[in-house]
Point group: none
Chain length 214, copies 4
């Protein structure tokens, strides 16, 4: 179908980083969506922040909604699955396992730019129910299951007291999410900045205290 002379078409002077573009755009879009919300983000600004023209955006994404979906999709990652492995194969104490899971959560998800996705999804879940559902299924529920599994392991091994693992996992995820949301919202206008490490240490302390067998 393609004619041989196509190969002789002069190579345009740009050509570079064909692959990099979408990532740059998604990254710029992520920042702006998190900062201003979906409706509040102008594609003009996304393009400008990515250093390209507005038209270029449409070479890679059909429209604003598809860009939004891409932003969510590209940033939820398969990270969760790694944590799952850890739970299954972990050899140490359950307290240590819980500590590690939470540290991992914060390092790889909560504290990263991608953590803003949480805020975004929370704000836009009403406007994009399918995406919210997707996020719920792919991110939130898996995490709850992993953490619940770790709790259950501790109980079964006699390290933790008996609690309802699912509900416990949900509740103690609250402060983690809170911390992440805070960074992307009030954190910016609070004068004495929140010390994340101290916060996380206190949180771990609470969780483990609450799990101590009677």
């Amino acid at each position: 179908m393609s004619t041989p002379h196509e190969a002789t078409i002069a190579k345009p002077r740009w050509e570079r980083r064909k692959e990099a573009r979408p990532a740059e755009l998604v990254s710029a879009a992520l920042e702006l969506f998190v900062e201003k919300g979906y409706a509040g983000t102008r594609l003009d600004d996304v393009a400008a922040r990515a250093g390209v023209s507005k038209g270029t955006l449409y070479l890679y994404f059909e429209n604003k909604e598809e860009l939004f979906k891409a932003v969510v999709r590209e940033n939820i990652v398969a990270r969760i699955s790694q944590s799952a492995e850890e739970v299954l194969h972990f050899e140490g104490s359950s307290a240590e396992l819980v500590r590690r899971l939470m540290a991992t959560w914060w390092d790889e998800y909560g504290s990263s730019t991608a953590g803003g996705i949480g805020k975004l999804m929370m704000a836009e879940s009403g406007n994009f129910p399918e995406i919210a559902r997707f996020f719920l299924d792919e991110v939130i529920e898996p995490w709850h299951r992993i953490l619940a599994a770790a709790i259950k392991r501790g109980t079964e091994r006699g390290e933790f007291r008996t609690v309802k693992p699912d509900m416990f996992a949900r509740v103690v995820t609250g402060p983690l999410v809170m911390l992440s949301l805070w960074k992307h919202s009030f954190g910016a206008c609070s004068q004495q900045p929140l010390d994340a490490n101290e916060y996380l240490a206190m949180h771990l302390d609470i969780v483990l205290s609450a799990l101590r067998p009677a």
Copy 2:
């Protein structure tokens, strides 16, 4: 069938409701802002939900931003102050005090429609820094202080172990906020609905367990 005369009684195009209008508009706006975010809310829709025309909105609010401010202002309420009283004059155990504060928080703030304000502020803090600051100063910080005071009381009376009251208060507020946000976001698309009472009971259990003196 109906008497001809009745049929011809002109239905007034509108009713005079000067007193009620602003509240109705603010209420309609609250729902939509929470549901769709600031930028995603059309004033047309606000007016329609309040049962008035677009123009009427402008009789009571200078513009969209002022409406937004009014929504926030009218819904933060002075509720917090009542809780403050409770802390100061409470006679019972500190565990009971904490339980009551949390129940109050949920009943009067978290579970109410106004709880959506929290979600709204979180999403829009970047776009309205002054209002976010206001919300921080008038709602969040006071609550933290009240809860911290209750923790401190428990410690001083030997009922709780020693913890940093401020940080503890912040951390254990996480699940409360989480629950409220959930209701206005993923709650809508989660199939097995979250049982708020069970969640809160578990949370209280965790908090009190974590505070138990060694």
Copy 3:
């Protein structure tokens, strides 16, 4: 048709100045139309300046355009005719007649609030051709005829040199109109205010110098 008991209807508490209202409204409208132009004038403001509610305006004027027409109509007055009389019956020198006509023009038309009508008509003639035509026929042309008649009288009596009366009248009306327009436009933002008397004196001097027989 009217029933006797109409007479027993309680006399409402307002009642006062039934006749005065339209004049107050027209006067307020005149000021605003002159100041802001037709389109730039809000009926709200007209009503406010007249000290009545917006609705009241519609008791007296069918709509904005009718109000505008009333403003023009009520302010062109029959003043002109008095000047006409003067020309016909004046006994003194033609120079004195011209002097009087100009002084009269300034005192009764140019310097009065109604002088703003000129500015208004100039600005809005394109939007209201019929009214412009009316103004032209009822105000401008008659004035030109009167002044031309005075010039002609002077020439015929040997007091002035021979000129084309019509064109002469038009040209020397220019400074008069200019002065009136100035008051309602740049006059407000010019720092050294224009001395109208000096201006008029110079103008009269020019006119009479130009008419001096060779």
Copy 4:
């Protein structure tokens, strides 16, 4: 009838005219502002007259007011300065100088489309005081100074009688402005059109007669 192929050649929805656009828009806006006044001019119409869509206007001008300012700015031109040169270096009689200045005024300012700017400024000076001030400083005052200088020159060379040059200049500018305003207002609805040349000849005659030494 026409070859099918020709008929299917897609007419571009628009043409790229970045360079020409602002001038075209300003020109369209000038006509409409002069014709209908600032408030009476719809941006839709400006765009339509310039042959572009509404949105395009906003690519070049931030808002209606900026467009208005551009219209004024672009049309006052530095024409005045040429006349200034003439006064300084003119070698002939002062009467000839005055004649030339007036002819120049009419040819280059009064009779041109840009002359409508005068009408516009007069009508809108109240709504845009800063622009009016600008116009006063950049156009009106310079002209007065130039004409006054020419009068003074004549007096000093014994060609004219002694008059107050400033006031004289102001007064005799009246008919010029009048003529220009007339063209853009009543001129349109007057049946016997004003002969500008005859008017200007009469005016020059008056001015020079009035300046003749005793």
